[in-house]
Assembly symmetry: C2
Homo-oligomer: 476 residues x 2
């Protein structure tokens, strides 16, 4: 696909919404109104033959009635009218489309399949690109384009590229990542993929210089061999995290009903991940964890850890979890232990590594010198800190967060935080609010944060394996 096609998809200067309405409960209304709130220097044209204006903006009966050139059209009309709308776009020489409407091959009806073939045909003959149908569209922060239901997505851009066959997943993953303060370069939900597909988006993000991490949810791949070769090339440049849906018989059946894709077998995909170095994920939680990890510590290579926790079980769990990933916790030298012990009460803790602080409530004046002592140890490359307790006023946590960040910056060792959600009742919401505030603080200082030790160690293992593979030039 040519570069200027992507220009039209991700940075259109003139946009038509076919099926625009003033009703935010309709796709056409929500999309039009969302984009109208996001316009900068772009022009937006509502198309709808049944009304004459939407909140003061003149509507056009057909896209051909618009005088100016249109880069990008968004089609939201019901399925039986989509082929005509696509044909109108071709006549208008629109460069690219997104078709939000569903009701095509995924319905497993003859009619649906025919309509989808027709729109793909028209696009190909007219050199017009289609995203969809049966999707939530494109979020491109520097343009007005925003996936459903994202009217409030930020206009700041980032370094994460997302492409996914599921609209719900794209919007859900984007929301969760944005909530953590991480910004997105582009997110595309591409549904049935009648034209643009996984190959196109992976190629695009490969070359897009600001994209440093790629995350994908894929139900089916058109050409397995080509996709594998492309993935091999991309992973040499940047990490590609893939959640492959539909790897079981039941999952494949669900995939057919969802985006009319072919699921593929579990064994083939295991080989794919093995050969390409793409990073496998299952579910939204693991996807978020991996994005956080690759975003904060893309070049992570540490294998010798220190763990600092507030209780013996935590340190035992960390030691077990790290060893299972082939990562080590070496006992500190006598000097390091002595330096740490100076800040701990005489008993009920451990200065050996893991460090058991003996209390879940860490205080900056104790934790900071302990972290400094650990940072000076030549037996440690990275430090995992489990902060379990949050103070609802927040002032203690603020001092703690500043102390941890300063050691992260000055100490020369990566810090990884785990902030488990220990206060889980509806009454204890203030502790959760404080936890989230400090999670955002740590992330904004480049410190990755995970909800549990098990989840942190899973991500560290996957980042390390990716970086090893990349260093060896991807050869297994």
């Amino acid at each position: 696909m040519a570069n200027d096609d992507f220009q039209a998809v991700f940075h259109p200067r003139s946009i038509a919404v076919i099926g625009a309405s003033s009703d935010p409960m309709k796709f056409g209304g929500r999309t039009y109104l969302s984009m109208r709130a996001r316009l900068d220097r772009e022009r937006l044209y509502p198309v709808n033959p049944n009304i004459t204006e939407i909140d003061g903006a003149k509507t056009y009966p057909r896209i051909q009635d618009i005088q100016e050139d249109i880069d990008f059209a968004i089609i939201t009309v019901p399925a039986p009218f989509v082929v005509q709308a696509v044909s109108d776009c071709a006549e208008k020489k629109v460069r690219a489309l997104e078709i939000l409407t569903a009701g095509f091959t995924e319905t497993e009806t003859k009619e649906g399949a025919e309509w989808e073939n027709q729109m793909a045909d028209i696009a190909q003959r007219n050199n017009m690109r289609i995203v969809g149908p049966n999707c939530f569209g494109v979020y491109s922060p520097l343009s007005p384009l925003t996936i459903l239901p994202g009217p409030d997505y930020p206009k700041e851009t980032g370094t994460l590229g997302i492409f996914a066959q599921s609209g719900g997943f794209t919007s859900n993953l984007s929301r969760r990542i944005l909530d953590l303060g991480i910004r997105i370069n582009k997110a595309v939900s591409y549904g049935n993929a009648c034209d643009l597909n996984e190959m196109d988006f992976l190629s695009y993000f490969k070359e897009e210089e600001n994209t440093r991490v790629i995350a994908a949810y894929i139900e089916g791949v058109r050409n397995g061999r080509r996709f594998l070769d492309l993935a091999k090339e991309v992973t040499l440049k940047k990490p590609v995290i893939i959640w492959k849906g539909g790897l079981t018989n039941q999952g494949s059946r669900a995939v057919a009903s969802h985006t009319a894709s072919m699921g593929g077998s579990s064994i083939i995909w295991q080989a794919f991940f093995h050969q390409t170095g793409a990073v496998p994920a299952i579910g939204v939680d693991e996807m978020v964890d991996l994005i956080v990890g690759f975003h904060c510590i893309p070049d992570f290579k540490a294998k010798r850890f220190s763990v600092v926790g507030g209780g013996g079980a935590i340190t035992v769990a960390a030691a077990d979890a790290l060893e299972k990933e082939g990562l080590s916790i070496l006992p500190f030298s006598e000097d390091t232990q002595k330096a740490i012990r100076a800040y701990l009460p005489p008993h009920g803790n451990s200065a050996k590594n893991p460090v058991d602080m003996g209390t879940p409530r860490f205080l900056a004046p104790t934790l900071k010198p302990i972290l400094e002592a650990i940072s000076e140890s030549d037996r440690v490359d990275a430090i995992i800190i489990e902060q379990m307790a949050f103070d609802s006023s927040g002032s203690i946590d603020e001092k703690l967060a500043k102390a941890i960040s300063s050691v992260h910056i000055d100490g020369g060792k990566s810090i990884i935080m785990t902030l488990p959600q220990n206060s889980t009742g509806s009454e204890g919401i203030s502790a959760e609010q404080s936890r989230r505030k400090y999670r955002e603080y740590y992330l904004s200082h480049g410190i990755p944060v995970f909800d549990s030790l098990e989840r942190a160690v899973n991500v560290l293992g996957k980042i390390l394996r990716y970086n090893e593979l990349k260093a060896r030039g991807n050869t297994i």
Copy 2:
């Protein structure tokens, strides 16, 4: 161990705190003040030779100076004074003790080991039971006893028995379970286990009639063969969930520093779980999930599922996850599909099973008849519903929760909810509050709730395997 020993440990009528103080920052202060706030008809005596009263209560220089009989003593004095305190208790004919103080075998010093041997000796010679040392003690809701730092733990009792070598874990797990509205029968943190150990507590919970689920965190077992035989017997009566810490070399080292236990090998423990039918867990999150599952659906035997979600990716993920556990999602009959389709828009969803509602925002008037149609299907034994969106006002969610609960009660099929935490920013806390409120609502109606599909399916698989083993009388 005799039954009246347990009476003294879990329901003492007279309690002495040796090392009581008025300072809540000290163990002796926090423990004394917590219990004082929890007294019902029991008597509580502070012992401390250095002060004469605590908030109006007369202190005793030594436990022997108390006139009345003492069932239970709590020792919080520094390590070098503990043996003397234990000896004083023996002279006073105290029935049982908990020793919160640390600084014994876990320090790996000669002195620490000697002190611990001495206290164990005194206890044995005087037929006095010890919980600890190096622990957070006992929480027994119908008594004043509450583990640290649990002054506000409820006085209502429940059906969960917890025993754990780690005090922090006991208090953390208890807090999380209580936050969900589930009540605890007893929770014991038993630290170095110089006297009472895993055998005693497992035997106790085996016979305790109100205990229906047992959860344990174990670092080391004294007599593996006896523990295995006992576990086999217990799992025939009730589920035993065990997190075994220290199964790696590093983990074993951490275990030695924590409670001076022997870690044991991973292969031996795999065989243990296989032979006993005890349910393995790793980490606090999985422990909480399993407790929730066994609490709500102890006799779960369903293998044919329906999944209802708001998006195609969710239904694909569910189908994949269930199949990996050997569980099935059968396509609905044409009649069931037709009944469901009547409540769905024409496209962008699926009525086949999994059901894709086409929107993450479920409404009671649509969801309820769909669930009723599914309940009538003879191809389904249980329904998993993923509710992704929460309305901050809560009124929509309330109608939804009532509709789901009514189908759960009247429909004759188990309902399992997954409520992912999709709004994760510090700004979106009201959605999280609503999510928690409805999680508690569902749990109080006997509907288990999990944070993700993957976690729900993990628990369902483990409950099913436990129930199969139990039905076969534990023979593998």
